[in-house]
């Protein structure tokens, strides 16, 4: 059978529906059957999505696996899916993390199991859909669809303040996304006014022939900005995140941090930059300042947290600051770093939330002061935590380093002092992470209860293993990842910052040139 003739993206996106239907018609009492079904379905979704990189051609320009059909012809909405290297990586991250977090929920979720797994699978559809759709309305539909299951995941299976956290998350993101919708509509009517065609096709919007006047670009960018920045979340819009993260169940936090936040940054990269190049450039100072504030502020607040989970939540804000900083450097290196860092953040922060979840499951508290000396009773756990912590800090040899390094290089090419300030965020990051590790892992065991805690079991090791492998893979041999990103990233920079490719060689390249010249002289 020729796999390329199959609508692979549609299958990956909607495969969880199979699981939803099976679970819907399974009796509530058959808990194990429901769990097994959900795990198999998410696992299969991941396996199917693994087909994508095999058939993906990193040399090809433009979108691949394209599927196009008319959906609401009256207003020109299409069912239009397609991916490039950027979406490919994010889809794989999504299917992997969904599978792992489903696996991690096996014992933690002990009530209303049927609903839980249905929401989980629904969430996966929404998330994968966001990364595959190229029609703005289709994108928007997935974007919103995914809000609802997340709201329920936080609200039903969350912590003490779950009601507040759930509605806050929902209100914030809905506000942003509706403004995004207005931006999309403005774009749509302008496109009609110029070309006479009613379409929501994102590729049409970013084609070279279609130029939007700067003033309109400014307003549309602003509308998009609210939609995406709230999701990322960028500095003044971040307040929903600690609440949602801390109150959500472990799997919810993993997905929230690992994937949902990436949708905001993905939105900037996929739509804001190439469709609105002039406004993007205009907004660079604002975005950079907000990113730097997020890096420093997130790190400082993380340092002060007493709650283990909210420490990780605030560290997310700091890390996402790096992602947006690299993106708005508008250089290919910065942008590549930004995307790699998104993947890294998904891996390391996802893992850190799972790590918190492990002790929470055993002790039902997240206060850092409740734990100490865990490394003696849980050596495997301590090792996993150490690797993931170091990956989050950005130790060379692990994934975090590659992302942060590329971002700093990309930023440095534009303004050296942006990179300088941002680098101080890395130091702060090392400080709070190492301090956390020291407090919970070393020292004497002060609490009686901690003595009885069990080390990781096989299921738990199973879901950490892929994350650890990925952390090393990206850290040691990032080439395959950078290779799929090369074409799309260059295309975006070409569109948004064409000067980059014509400009005189920048500082670093000059440096290398200099060395080369020197080496020409015989010693």
């Amino acid at each position: 059978m020729n796999l390329q003739s199959l609508p692979l993206l549609t299958i990956v996106t909607f495969f969880p529906l199979v699981g939803i239907f099976i679970i819907l018609f399974t009796s509530k009492q058959k808990e194990n059957l429901i769990k097994v079904t959900a795990n198999i379905v998410t696992g299969l979704t991941f396996l199917i999505s693994l087909l994508l990189p095999f058939y993906f051609n990193p040399q090809a320009e433009g979108m691949q696996f394209v599927e196009k059909a008319s959906w609401i012809p009256a207003i020109g909405v299409q069912y239009f899916m397609g991916i490039d290297g950027i979406s490919l990586l994010l889809i794989l991250l999504t299917t992997l993390l969904t599978f792992l977090s489903t696996l991690s929920s096996w014992r933690v979720i002990d009530h209303r199991i049927k609903e839980y797994y249905i929401f989980m699978l629904l969430l996966e559809i929404g998330m994968v859909g966001v990364f595959t759709s190229l029609d703005l309305i289709l994108f928007y539909v997935f974007w919103e669809v995914m809000l609802v299951p997340m709201y329920f995941l936080i609200g039903v299976w969350g912590g003490e303040r779950k009601l507040y956290a759930a509605i806050k998350f929902f209100l914030y993101t809905l506000f942003g996304s509706l403004l995004l919708l207005l931006g999309i509509l403005a774009l749509y009517f302008y496109h009609h006014a110029v070309t006479g065609v009613y379409t929501f096709d994102a590729l049409q919007m970013m084609s070279d022939g279609f130029i939007i006047p700067p003033k309109l670009q400014f307003w549309i960018f602003l509308a998009f900005f609210f939609g995406f920045a709230i999701k990322v979340p960028m500095f003044p819009f971040h307040t929903w995140l600690p609440d949602a993260h801390v109150e959500a169940p472990t799997a919810g936090s993993v997905i929230l941090a690992g994937i949902l936040l990436k949708m905001g940054t993905y939105g900037f990269i996929r739509f804001s930059l190439p469709i609105l190049p002039d406004a993007s450039k205009q907004f660079v100072p604002v975005m950079v300042v907000l990113s730097i504030i997020a890096i420093i502020y997130g790190a400082l607040v993380a340092m002060m947290q007493k709650d283990w989970k909210s420490l990780v939540a605030y560290s997310s804000i700091s890390h996402m600051g790096f992602v947006t900083l690299g993106m708005f450097a508008l250089t290919p290196i910065g942008l590549q770093g930004s995307i790699i860092q998104q993947i890294n953040h998904g891996i390391s922060t996802g893992a850190l939330f799972l790590i918190v979840g492990i002790v929470y499951e055993r002790r039902h508290t997240r206060l850092i002061s409740e734990y100490s000396g865990l490394s003696r009773i849980m050596p495997v756990y301590a090792a996993v935590f150490a690797i993931m912590m170091l990956s989050s800090i950005g130790l060379p040899g692990l994934n975090g380093f590659i992302g942060e390094f590329l971002i700093l290089v990309g930023t440095f090419q534009v303004k050296w002092w942006w990179a300088a300030i941002a680098a101080s965020g890395i130091i702060l990051g090392a400080a709070y992470m190492l301090w956390l590790y020291q407090r919970v892992m070393f020292g004497k065991i002060t609490k009686e209860e901690n003595l009885k805690m069990k080390d990781l079991n096989v299921r738990e090791i199973t879901y950490f293993l892929p994350l650890i492998l990925l952390a090393f893979w990206i850290g040691l041999y990032p080439k395959p990842y950078l290779k799929v990103l090369e074409k799309p990233v260059n295309k975006i920079v070409q569109k948004v910052n064409p000067d980059y490719f014509q400009k005189k060689p920048n500082i670093i390249e000059k440096l290398f040139e200099h060395q080369e010249k020197r080496s020409e002289f015989p010693h």
Binding site: W71, I72, P73, A74, I75, R112, K114, E115, I137, Y140, V141, E144, V145, L147, V148, Y151, F152, G155, V156, K162, L163, A166, I167, F170, L171, L174, F175, L178, L179, L181, L182, L185, A186, Y188, F189
Partner: protein, 476 residues
């Protein structure tokens, strides 16, 4: 024979009137335990009437230019028939619990529908007024139908007094139009006005007409009656009042203002834009603080009138067409919203508190899922019809560069999420008071399933309905 064609053109209305009268005549001869027969009869009447819509000519002027049948009116007639059908399905259980299940109820319901159907086909002030009153008087009776219930009595009385007042205002506006032109047909009035140009009397006429219609669609500042009437009236009647007469009033708004008063288009569009802003903002903010679910939905339907007015304020093809689509979705979701209250009703117990919904998700998962779909649609979140409808309405505003109104609509949608999902929160996040599984009556379950599926269909595969709305909006 011209007269035969005329009769063919109002065949739906005739069939429905005949069934209404038949129900009235035979009801004394039907035993209490065979009341179901009346329901079947009225449903059969609705279906027959619906079928007859297909033989109505798509473009004709009848009865000496007083009525018309066009795609626009047929779209609305179909809408009313669907609404009435759904309302009948949710009525049975309610009135049984109230111990007041009377055949007259179905008579008045069908009669109101006949009035509505004539309303949307009227192209003459006199025929409009007569059908308007047929609808209004039947509605007053329906609102006060539970004659032993104090709340229902209050609702009927309030509705009657204020409704009569607004009809007076409407007549006042008609009088001005007639005085200015000396004719009563829409087309003739428009022609005569076009020759005469704008004068201050015309502006008074426009304002009074708008005022009377604002009353009917419950727009701020003419909304005062709505919460009380909607809360007090029997719940199925509330569902009906919040949907069918409102849709008809919007239809009249479109026809009257666009056909008769194009001269003042800028003026009335500005007026409506502001009214729309106030209406949705007021409705949403007032709904935030409600403790009674029914009253909350009453305020929410005020807010929806506000969103609908955006379409009218923006006008253009997207605006009118968006309104038609919105009204279709609105019919489903609002009947659904009031329908779910009936689910909670027990004897001697209204079932209108948020606490009544606590933990429903664990007792009735299927029903809760449908309620969530309805709530999502009311908020305007995909993949529901409410989302597509809102996209149309906001598109119209963006297209006409009414950005401020579109932004206001967006902010309002966010507010509405908060109170709609207080219900969702009660159902999913709170623990149930009793573990007993919940078993609703079959007709209610059928109605709510149709509504849920309809809303999803309108959201996932809107194409056929959207093009239907588009064709129907074409004359304007």
């Amino acid at each position: 024979m011209n007269f035969l064609i005329d009769l063919q053109s109002i065949s739906s209305e005739l069939i429905l009137s005949a069934f209404a009268l038949l129900i009235l005549v035979i009801s004394p001869f039907i035993k209490e335990e065979k009341k179901k027969f009346i329901i079947y009869l009225s449903i059969f009447g609705l279906i027959a009437s619906f079928m007859a819509l297909f033989i109505q000519p798509r473009k004709a002027r009848l009865f000496w230019e007083t009525l018309t049948t066009d795609k626009f009116s047929i779209y609305f007639k179909a809408l009313f028939l669907i609404a009435t059908f759904l309302v009948i399905l949710i009525s049975k259980r309610f009135f049984e619990h109230e111990m007041y299940h009377k055949a007259e109820y179905y008579f008045f319901l069908l009669l109101t529908t006949v009035g509505l159907m004539f309303m949307v086909s009227a192209v003459d002030l006199i025929s409009l007024y007569v059908s308007f009153e047929l609808m209004a008087i039947s509605c007053y009776v329906l609102a006060g139908f539970l004659k032993r219930n104090l709340r229902s009595n209050e609702a009927g009385m309030k509705y009657f007094v204020l409704g009569a007042f607004s009809s007076g205002i409407l007549l006042f506006g008609f009088a001005f139009l007639f005085g200015l032109t000396g004719v009563t047909g829409y087309r003739e009035i428009a022609q005569s006005l076009a020759n005469k140009g704008v004068n201050s009397f015309l502006i008074i006429a426009m304002l009074t007409l708008a005022g009377a219609l604002f009353f009917k669609i419950a727009a701020v500042p003419f909304h005062m009656w709505t919460p009380d009437v909607y809360e007090g009236a029997p719940t199925p009647v509330t569902a009906y009042l919040s949907v069918a007469p409102k849709a008809a009033s919007f239809a009249i708004f479109i026809r009257l203002f666009l056909e008769v008063l194009p001269l003042l288009k800028n003026e009335w569009q500005t007026l409506i834009a502001w009214i729309s802003l106030f209406t949705m903002t007021y409705g949403n903010i007032a709904a935030l603080t409600q403790k009674n679910v029914k009253r909350m939905f009453a305020y929410s339907s005020i807010a929806h009138a506000g969103y609908l007015l955006i379409g009218l304020a923006a006008g253009g093809d997207f605006g009118i067409w968006g309104m038609l689509y919105y009204l279709l979705v609105y019919t489903f979701m609002n009947i659904g919203a009031f329908g779910i209250i009936i689910f909670m009703k027990k004897k001697e117990h209204f079932g209108e508190e948020f606490a009544d919904f606590n933990g429903l998700a664990q007792r009735a998962p299927y029903l809760s899922a449908i309620i969530i779909v309805i709530l999502l649609s009311l908020t305007g979140i995909p993949p529901t019809g409410g989302f597509i409808a809102k996209v149309y309405i906001f598109s119209a505003a963006v297209k006409q560069k009414l950005y401020w109104l579109a932004v206001a609509g967006v902010l309002n949608s966010v507010i509405s999420l908060y109170y709609y999902f207080r219900l969702g929160m009660a159902m999913y996040f709170k623990e149930p008071e009793s573990e007993a599984p919940y078993s609703p009556s079959p007709s209610l379950l059928l109605a709510i399933s149709i509504i849920g599926l309809g809303i999803l269909l309108l959201g996932i595969y809107p194409h056929p309905f959207a093009s239907l709305a588009k064709i129907s909006a074409l004359p304007f």
